[in-house]
């Protein structure tokens, strides 16, 4: 307990989580204003995303028709036919109106490369992404918070040093490289797991076989994804615990004769979790964005891979739709975090 916490004031406020009765009236109006402000902010962001998405991907030079006919001779008539079919013969302004009304009504148009409705493709890919990044994020958050809280609690110990070094080492490793190493070691040399993909072609159709097969394919990508990101949660949790460590209420808890582990788990960690909420919500928002690089290395048929392929194509309507989707999930997730803060952190209520 030698190093004093830099935010002792804040700590003292933390235990007083229950707002006094008389404040209720003010909270409602205050909350209304708070909500309006943040929802408004989110709406403006969404609008900007909606507009910029149309123009950003038009800056990516290149004629989509060139891509469609790459290295194959085509006549001008064929080019015109393709152009008309993709709606590229329309003036820019019409294309923008089509895009805007389409996106707002959930009709994202047709993908250049797959020639299918984008909405269908996204719905098809979503489960794979949720499975991979969902599992990965949950694992990374749990692992990061668990190690982070213990490392921070015993700052400078061997556990702290080795865990922080390991975590940061993995954090700075390129996902791509780590994924390839995982494939070479665990899939090629040891043949423990499949090299990539989500399902094997020869697996029987019954639920159990399919589930086991997908689980088998899931191990390496999830481990890779988790290994790369968990250090982020570890570091935030560690510093958060460090902040709490010198607090008076912990001294009180210890004075009551509680075991060290119990002091940490029951008293320090709950308070230390507060600053990590934004992080957790960002992580939830990121689940949809997918683990783009991981999905690419492991040929995981999710949204991240769809995005990468669309960039290479370039599949403009697909990029627009994914950009809007990714941005809006993040914006909504952050909005949720902000709303939740109102209820979790009394300081915000007091400020408004």
């Amino acid at each position: 307990m030698t190093d004093s916490s830099p935010s002792a004031d804040r700590d003292r406020q933390a235990p007083s989580a229950d707002p006094p009765e008389r404040r209720t009236g003010r909270i409602t109006t205050g909350f209304g204003r708070y909500l309006l402000k943040h929802v408004g902010g989110a709406a403006v962001s969404l609008l900007l995303v909606l507009f910029s998405s149309f123009f950003i991907f038009r800056l990516v030079a290149g004629d989509p028709i060139d891509q469609l006919t790459r290295e194959r001779p085509v006549t001008p008539e064929q080019r015109e036919a393709m152009r008309a079919e993709l709606g590229l013969d329309q003036p820019m302004w019409n294309q923008f109106i089509d895009y805007l009304t389409g996106t707002l009504t959930g009709d994202f148009g047709t993908s250049f490369q797959y020639r299918r409705p984008i909405f269908d493709l996204i719905v098809e890919r979503l489960p794979a992404t949720l499975l991979l990044s969902g599992t990965g994020v949950v694992l990374a958050v749990l692992l990061g918070f668990w190690i982070g809280s213990r490392a921070g609690w015993r700052q400078g110990s061997r556990f702290d040093r080795t865990q922080v070094t390991t975590g940061l080492l993995l954090y700075s490793a390129p996902t791509f490289w780590l994924g390839m190493i995982a494939i070479l070691v665990f899939a090629r040399s040891l043949e423990l797991f499949p090299v990539n993909g989500m399902r094997s072609p020869g697996t029987p159709d019954d639920f159990l076989s399919q589930a086991v097969d997908i689980g088998h394919h899931l191990v390496l990508p999830v481990l890779t994804y988790t290994a790369v990101v968990y250090a982020g949660y570890l570091m935030v949790m560690r510093s958060s615990i460090l902040d709490e460590r010198g607090s008076d209420y912990l001294t009180t808890a210890r004075a009551k004769g509680l075991r060290d582990d119990d002091v940490r788990r029951r008293h320090a960690v709950p308070n230390a979790l507060l600053p990590t909420i934004t992080l957790v919500f960002l992580a939830i928002g990121n689940i949809v964005n997918g683990a783009i690089v991981t999905e690419t290395v492991f040929s995981w048929p999710g949204l991240g891979r769809l995005f990468v392929q669309s960039i290479f194509y370039p599949d403009r309507p697909m990029l627009q739709a994914l950009f809007v989707l990714f941005s809006s999930t993040t914006i909504v997730a952050v909005l949720c975090a902000e709303i939740l803060y109102w209820f979790l952190d009394p300081r915000i209520r007091r400020a408004s």
């Binding site: 290295e71 001008p76 993909g197 086991v212 689980g215 290395v297 392929q309």
Partner: protein, 606 residues
């Protein structure tokens, strides 16, 4: 209370262990639980554009089309010569305008319906009457006048003008009338989306999961005999290195598009055979020799020196193509002469007396003679002005081979007093600049087909742009030459293959000597397969030919046979069992360490 905590934890941990072990064991049995279907697995990374055979443009759908459907005439496996497909015989009328085909008797669709000349007439009818389908296939369909089945086995096609080479080498995939006439719009992308497809070829597309797999099932009714494999599966691998690892681990049977380093790694594997085949692809360096429209309006900002054939020829003379093959491709290629790669033996022109040998001194002499004097900075200038011979050289940013070529070539050109300003540019922008004529030198590369007219046609005056906005892109680089054009018209209607070959070679000679483009090399196809699982892969052409990327018909997959007792299943499940053992041991060790440490720290603290 306190004493109960460890007990509870141990119980929980034991439960967790049991679950983990169960899951891993389940995984092991799952990996072993494979059906006994003979399945040929091919690694791919390309999406499906559409299953509509009149519209698909991708290589993968070209391949599935050639397996699901058939054409009347197809290029042979031995040498790409036309051979009977669904037509057993054909005859061109004296005026070249009427073709009569005898349709194979006994051919059936994969659903058991008989295939007749009426299906053929229906298919050609779509190309003539359906405007969208016609536009998509205008290069051949534009010449069709009528299509008619005179009886169940005779099909008559009439043309606008004679086109023997196009009829013999362009493929029209014959579709079943009894299925297709129910489609509301046969030109739509989603026409023909109902799987399994019905066709007459050896494998039918049966299942497609975007980015996961594309499965084809063997057609037992195939007139040439059912394939030995029950299924053919294209398995998706985004990363070429992952596909290589999968081949090494026995998870995939055929991988193509390898690089020399991957080939080296695979050659060390006992169960893998590498096929280093001649390819259909060339890499070329194109010069901006004067961008102009069909009516002669010049545009763009090309360097004036490149309009002089002597400069282009001198630059050609200062390129050591063999060195580039050795250094860039690790020897997996052939130095190029002209437009048609050596794999198409009958059309390829070998250079004869005009063959350019790498000779820096000769190149210098040519430039000296033409009056390009060497400046003090080591760079030549124009004969009539002091403009330096300094050229922009654009190469594709995503292609490392091109970047290496640029380095070599720049040095050679420096030795002849030519300065190069190399710039990597993203492919789309690079194409834009080239078609706008806003470049000096740029890379190009094409995969060529068995009909030389396609590639030669891109160098005729007829395809020059009419406007200067760079949107008309049927030409390769603004080439236009009267003699070349007249040869082109003649070879297109020449029915005698030898006489046609002479004309085609003459066209290539003109291109070579005029040097609007320098062809650098023909790139080999590097592919590998697991010979413990698959055998009997026919190559095209037979000599030094390829397995993947065949034209007209996938002879390799049709002739492929499974190898008995290809023990990879056993290997995989043993691997999994070992893995389970290792994983379980690791979990136990981790758990023991965890509890020991936990108890000791708890004891110390309390």
């Amino acid at each position: 209370m306190r004493s109960s905590i460890p007990t509870r934890r141990i119980a929980a941990a034991a439960a967790a262990l049991a679950v983990a072990a169960g899951a891993l064991a389940g995984t092991a049995s799952g990996a072993a639980a494979q059906d006994d279907v003979d399945r040929l697995l091919i690694a791919t990374d390309q999406e499906v554009d559409t299953f509509n055979p009149f519209k698909s443009r991708y290589i993968i759908t070209y391949n599935t089309n050639t397996m699901t459907y058939e054409s009347l005439i197809r290029p042979s496996a031995e040498s790409y010569e036309p051979e009977p497909g669904l037509a057993t015989e054909w005859e061109e009328s004296g005026d070249g305008l009427t073709w009569t085909f005898q349709i194979r008797e006994g051919a059936e669709w994969s659903d058991g319906e008989p295939l007749t000349a009426h299906d053929v007439a229906y298919t050609y009818g779509l190309l003539i009457e359906n405007e969208d389908i016609r536009d998509w296939n205008i290069d051949v369909a534009g010449n069709f006048v009528s299509a008619e089945a005179t009886d169940d086995t005779t099909f008559v096609l009439t043309l606008n003008e004679p086109a023997p080479s196009a009829i013999l080498s362009s493929q029209t995939f014959i579709v079943p009338q009894h299925i297709w006439e129910d489609y509301p719009d046969p030109a739509a992308d989603d026409a023909n989306d109902e799987l399994p497809l019905v066709g007459s070829g050896p494998f039918q597309v049966a299942e497609y999961r975007t980015d996961e797999l594309l499965r084809l099932e063997a057609n037992e009714n195939y007139w040439g005999g059912a394939p030995a494999f029950d299924e053919l599966v294209y398995d998706y691998y985004n990363e070429p290195d992952a596909a290589v690892a999968a081949l090494e681990a026995g998870e995939v049977d055929i991988v193509n598009g390898l690089n020399p380093a991957q080939v080296e790694a695979l050659e060390a594997q006992d169960h893998v055979t590498v096929n280093n085949a001649q390819g259909r692809r060339f890499v070329s360096i194109t010069f901006n020799h004067g961008a102009a429209t069909a009516d002669g309006t010049e545009y763009g900002d090309g360097h004036p020196a490149l309009r002089d054939p002597v400069v282009r020829q001198a630059m050609h003379t200062a390129i050591d193509k063999q060195e580039l093959v050795d250094r860039v491709l690790d020897g997996n290629g052939t130095p190029a002469t002209s437009l048609i790669p050596a794999i198409f033996e009958q059309w390829h022109w070998e250079g004869g007396d005009s063959l350019v040998e790498f000779d820096i001194n000769e190149a210098n002499r040519m430039l000296d003679e033409a009056g390009y004097e060497l400046g003090e900075d080591g760079v030549r200038t124009m004969p009539d002005s002091d403009q330096r011979l300094s050229f922009r050289f654009y190469h594709h940013a995503d292609n490392t081979d091109y970047a290496t070529i640029v380095e070599f070539v720049s040095e050679w050109w420096e030795e002849i007093g030519i300065e190069v300003d190399a710039e990597p540019i993203e492919q789309g922008s690079l194409n834009d600049l080239v078609y706008l004529g806003e470049y000096d030198i740029a890379f190009s590369g094409w995969g060529t087909g068995p009909n030389p007219s396609d590639m030669l046609g891109m160098h005729t005056c007829a395809v020059l742009p009419t406007g200067t906005d760079g949107s008309e892109r049927s030409h390769e680089n603004f080439y236009c030459d009267e003699e070349f054009d007249s040869l082109h018209e003649r070879q297109k209607v020449e029915s005698d293959p030898d006489a046609r070959a002479e004309l085609v070679k003459e066209q290539q000679r003109i291109l070579y000597e005029d040097a609007p483009v320098v062809w650098v090399y023909y790139q080999n196809v590097l592919e590998a397969y697991n010979h413990d699982k698959v055998d009997g892969l026919t190559t095209q052409p037979s000599e030094n030919g390829m397995i993947t990327g065949q034209e007209g018909f996938q002879y390799s997959y049709w002739s492929a046979t499974p190898v008995d007792g290809g023990g990879e299943e056993g290997g995989a499940s043993t691997g999994v069992l070992i893995g389970v053992g290792v994983a379980a041991a690791a979990v136990v060790v981790a758990a023991v360490v965890f509890f020991v440490r936990r108890r000791s720290t708890a004891d110390e603290r309390e």
